[in-house]
Symmetry: C2
Subunit: 370 residues, 2 copies
């Protein structure tokens, strides 16, 4: 009998030594954490164990644990927001749960009922409620993580795992307003490939990406732009999905992002932007496309004045405006019609912010922890 | 001032509670470990710290540690052998040190002087000398590992790392003699890609490979064979390099393995087999090739009776004979002229065994711990 994940079994041990809270202006992304953490152990034999919220603590791992050798690890990034009624809200957590299960399945780690983990995250948020910062752009970053904990150097299916969630209070990605970034198009390294795992949120996709980012930084760029294939297809920006806005000769406009062909992370922000723009942009003026397009097309259309704006999209920054792309020794300049971003960039950021902070109800996208 | 790795600073704390040793027939690969472990901490600020051999112990890691989220992890596989004079020998450890540094560099972890780590491994082997089993095929498996230990969810260059070595007494991969394996050629998943990290011994390359191995196992195969591209180039076998032996129309023979094009792990056993066969096989009868070849060529030449043998090569098994390959619903049968393997397979296994166990001196390939 392998037990399913069951939120009703939750056990809570509260800390007796609460941490001091940092003021909003001292918050650094992912550096400080709340008083508690949520953990659920899994074994192949017994299934999911008792969910526990207990004081934030170190993990004790045997040096042979498979997570340290074979990258049996995956994670999610989510945020919790404080609304004007002091409710704590999460944004489309069901999408994160679906993706987390797909990630787990891809590397032979256990899957679980996503709604059960969402219920546990709600309880975790209520216990550490006081760490959710107040103020526009402030939130509590949630990091659901799963690691294989089998203690053996044999490469095989882990028979033990730990699912845990930690939380870090964070400020707006850019102090106030946007800070548009310069990108370097990377042509000597690839992030993902067909038949690989680039569409799953696995640890394995991250460490190999740091070196190209360092190389870009050395040459004065803030991020790198991932290309694929001889054609130079645009795939992602650093660790975000990439969106480009083009103007057509007939005056219509196109919002374009790479399709989910197995090499693209299935971003929740990406999906939200596609849905909101498809619903809200006037259909006689706009086309929203998931299609392949190349750095060559971007360069060519920029030269013709048809590149209007570009941005990265992800949980951390929501949207991150792009101001230029270095490519083969040339700079492709991206207009910033709204000052620090393009107009659509600013618009989608605001649409999403309102839903995240509960100022607007949109379908079931915002969930109140209770 | 960033300190280099310095073996002369070694500090040794010996255990007061030595473990009981298992009899040879109870040894399971990577399941039990020696009394001690070797550790060296690194920080960006101070460089490499004091190397320490201390009782085998759990690692205490903050749940935000980057190794658990972004796969900042790499390892090596080496073996130590007891020779007939009771010396403890390692095999071509300098190659492992070179590869470990290349792996570290690729994911922005610190590099080090490989000879210093080899000196430390020698001392570790002398401390745990009694765990090196006696007998042909028995050895002490060494697992040098490096993990990023920065406690932060920001994706960037780790500013802290831990290099550690643990050791597990192991028996022969196959009880006695060879056990030839059946492979399933995998065409729906891809292990590595040009511009990726398939040529580095990173944790990131391993977890994604387990699912295809499980799929192969479900259909009754022992391992999977990794192909690349529409052409179906043969790249690796499970977690080993792949060798094929073909007979030509003129009676000459060819030993072929995939070239180091960035998608192939730079195996130490692979390199040793290439060097020994190039030196020892009669040049008028044999060609040793590093070249691309496809599953189609293997199928075609098997049909013509020109496929003579095939094997995987790696530290764990040294060589692993292949008896058949499932491909598009058909079975490509591989002859086993020497009973459980091909003749060259048995020959190279014996050549390498003699050097590993110190029965034969060959260049500097075997190093006595002292």
């Amino acid at each position: 009998m392998s037990a399913p994940l069951d939120a009703s079994k939750l056990v809570i041990h509260k800390t007796t030594t609460p941490k001091e809270k940092l003021p909003n202006d001292k918050l650094v992304f992912g550096k400080t954490f709340t008083d508690h953490m949520l953990e659920i152990e899994w074994t192949a034999q017994a299934g999911w164990g008792t969910p526990t919220i207990s004081p934030y603590h170190k993990l004790s791992l045997d040096p042979s644990t498979v997570v340290l050798h074979y990258a049996f690890e995956l994670f999610e990034g989510m945020k919790a927001y404080r609304d004007t009624d002091n409710n704590i809200r999460t944004f489309r957590g069901d999408k994160n749960m679906d993706r987390m299960n797909k990630s787990a399945d891809r590397i032979a780690l256990p899957t679980f009922d996503g709604e059960e983990l969402m219920k546990l995250i709600d309880q975790f948020l209520l216990v550490d409620e006081s760490f959710v910062p107040q103020g526009a752009g402030y939130s509590l970053y949630l990091r659901p993580t799963m690691i294989g904990t089998t203690e053996s150097l044999g490469v095989g299916t882990p028979d033990k795992a730990l699912l845990y969630v930690i939380a870090s209070p964070v400020g707006p990605y850019y102090g106030t307003g946007f800070k548009p970034v310069s990108l370097e198009a990377t042509d000597y390294a690839v992030r993902a490939w067909p038949g690989g795992v680039g569409n799953r949120k696995l640890g394995a996709n991250y460490a190999p990406c740091v070196r190209p980012q360092l190389e870009a930084a050395k040459r004065g760029y803030q991020q790198n732009l991932w290309l694929f294939g001889e054609e130079g297809y645009i795939t992602e920006v650093g660790t975000m999905n990439a969106f480009f806005v083009f103007k057509n000769a007939d005056g219509t406009k196109e919002l374009a992002t790479a399709p989910l062909d197995g090499t693209i992370l299935e971003g929740v922000t990406r999906d939200s932007i596609l849905e909101l723009t498809r619903e809200r942009l006037p259909k006689n003026e706009w086309v929203v496309s998931e299609r392949k397009f190349t750095i060559g097309e971007v360069e060519e259309r920029a030269a013709k004045g048809e590149l209007i704006e570009a941005f990265g999209a992800g949980t951390a920054a929501v949207v991150s405006p792009i101001k230029s792309i270095g490519w083969k020794g040339k700079e492709i300049e991206v207009p910033l019609a709204a000052g620090d971003s393009g107009e659509l960039t600013a618009q989608v950021a605001e649409w999403i912010r309102k839903i995240q902070y509960g100022e607007e109800q949109y379908k079931n996208w915002s969930r109140v922890a209770q």
